[in-house]
Symmetry: C2
Subunit: 322 residues, 2 copies
């Protein structure tokens, strides 16, 4: 019942760079207050909270980080994941969970809340800004599966491209790959800025709009559907996949990245509990099983789907062939 | 970062009586939907979430409760504690935690949020309605310490009486005890209704107002300060305790119930992490150590304070003598 306090504490500590400050040696309340521009009392109580939760240590008035906290919450660490807080704790998602009772009654996002599939939903800008760190490992692995060690000229449609990491990782490995990034116009501003940063602007073009209705161009060798299908119902997904099939070259491939629970729907923990996020935030989304994805793709005319477990990721790749 | 989802799920399940429904045998999604007046999809996703978190079991489409979940979250269980959700997840507290970053900066409840010490704060009505279950064990033990097995005529001032449980437990054990319950006027409506329910209306009178300024009456044999002092600063508490001392008979006793962390302030977990609740919700409250309480009472003119650990409670009693 009080678990929300842990999320709030972690968000505050990320906002104020508390863990980073301790890593830098600002390791007692007065020094933390100065480095984090906060009250000494606030720094002491917040730091004590993490010690009590086993995420830091305290010796007298001196705090230190545990190895895990240093790896993932110190901004100077290459594995820093604090940025995810911006999306996972964004006000819109929090409000959707505040209205969870109504969402359970209704079977989808509460009437008082905006669903994350609405065209003017503003959460995807937060997402694009903050979720890159979480997706790096998966993006590398998918790029390897797409390129298969070759450097053939391919065109890739990245649907709901967001930060763009999935397409960019393919293009980094394969200098002959061209990426078409599709997303809402406001999100594409971030995609384009990231393409510049990756030095890929000349090989990345964009399509702004709704994947269900916009002209998709093509035909493509590869289409990426990363963390997209869980937002929609089975029937909506079949319609979307029919559009994807029509935009693929013969023999083209779709790589879908998804939270895929086992058939029991209660394991493994992350894909299983992800269904609740879809209940809270979308009209009809879900965490679909592999059997469901397989029949979705078959219903849209794909000839086969296979299931590829990623390393160091709670997510699964489904490779479907036109 | 996602722990808030667990609080929201638990609140929704308590609101909808999901655990109670399963205990009654409504143990698959369609039956749950009917009993809980919710969608089948919502019931399935919410129940799966608890299975994934180890709080329920699933066999095919049939859910069952674990022993702990049955004991504490089934309304038909005498140990039902679901009612605590009303206070622990109340919108005002959740909003205060949403603004935790600002509270850490400032060193107390965020400027945009109402502190729980304000006279017109409405959270104490939720508290009085929902926290009785959490306080029963402590109230029984304090009543034993107050009465010492005797039935002498005593008058007891219960400051911030709320649900009234602490005073009522004394009066139930001792037919010669009279209770004066002090709280905000809107909260006393609940105190009075509970006194009726306990059959104690003739021995319970009330004082409405602010403990820092209202006429306390007296003199009293015993004063109860249960879960009150953590809301204020050390200096404010000294002032309050001076008023209490003036309202006590010579040799009178104050029983203080508090979350008291060890001197390291990071153990045991519940009192240690409670400081963050006070940071988020009050201007200057804290989880004080026993050494701090001892000097607070000494500064207010009390002759001695002793520390009594309760059984099966995260809280501590401090017995101070005038």
């Amino acid at each position: 019942m009080m678990a929300y306090q842990q999320s709030a504490a972690l968000k505050a500590a990320v906002d104020l760079e508390l863990f980073t400050a301790i890593a830098e040696g600002h390791n007692h309340p007065a020094a933390l207050a100065q480095r984090c521009h906060c009250s000494e009392r606030g720094a002491r109580i917040l730091a004590d909270f993490f010690v009590a939760h086993g995420m830091m240590q305290k010796d007298g008035q001196t705090y230190s980080l545990t190895p895990d906290t240093n790896a993932f919450l110190n901004k100077h660490s290459p594995a820093y994941a604090g940025g995810m807080s911006g999306f996972l704790n964004a006000p819109n998602i929090r409000r959707q969970f505040d209205a969870l009772t109504e969402a359970v009654r209704k079977g989808g996002v509460a009437a008082t809340e905006e669903g994350s599939t609405a065209s003017h939903y503003d959460g995807w800008v937060d997402f694009a800004k903050s979720m890159e760190a979480m997706m790096g490992m998966a993006a590398q692995q998918i790029a390897g599966l797409v390129n298969e060690g070759k450097q053939e000229p391919i065109t890739v449609l990245d649907v709901a491209a967001s930060h763009g990491l999935f397409g960019f990782s393919i293009a980094k490995q394969n200098p002959n790959a061209k990426i078409v990034a599709l997303d809402w116009a406001n999100v594409l501003e971030i995609t384009k800025a990231n393409a510049e940063r990756w030095g890929l602007a000349s090989r990345v073009s964009t399509i702004a709009g709704d994947a269900f209705t916009v002209d998709l161009g093509g035909p493509y060798d590869v289409i990426l559907l990363t963390n997209l299908l869980h937002h929609f119902s089975f029937a909506e997904n079949v319609k979307l996949l029919q559009r994807m099939k029509a935009a693929l070259k013969p023999g083209g491939r779709v790589f879908t990245l998804e939270m895929v629970p086992n058939e029991d729907r209660v394991s493994p923990p992350m894909p299983a509990t992800f269904a609740l996020v879809m209940l809270a935030s979308t009209p009809a989304g879900d965490a679909f099983t592999f059997a469901e994805f397989e029949s979705m793709f078959a219903a849209a005319g794909f000839s086969s789907s296979e299931h590829i477990q990623l390393e160091a990721s709670p997510e699964t790749v489904i490779l479907s062939r036109a």
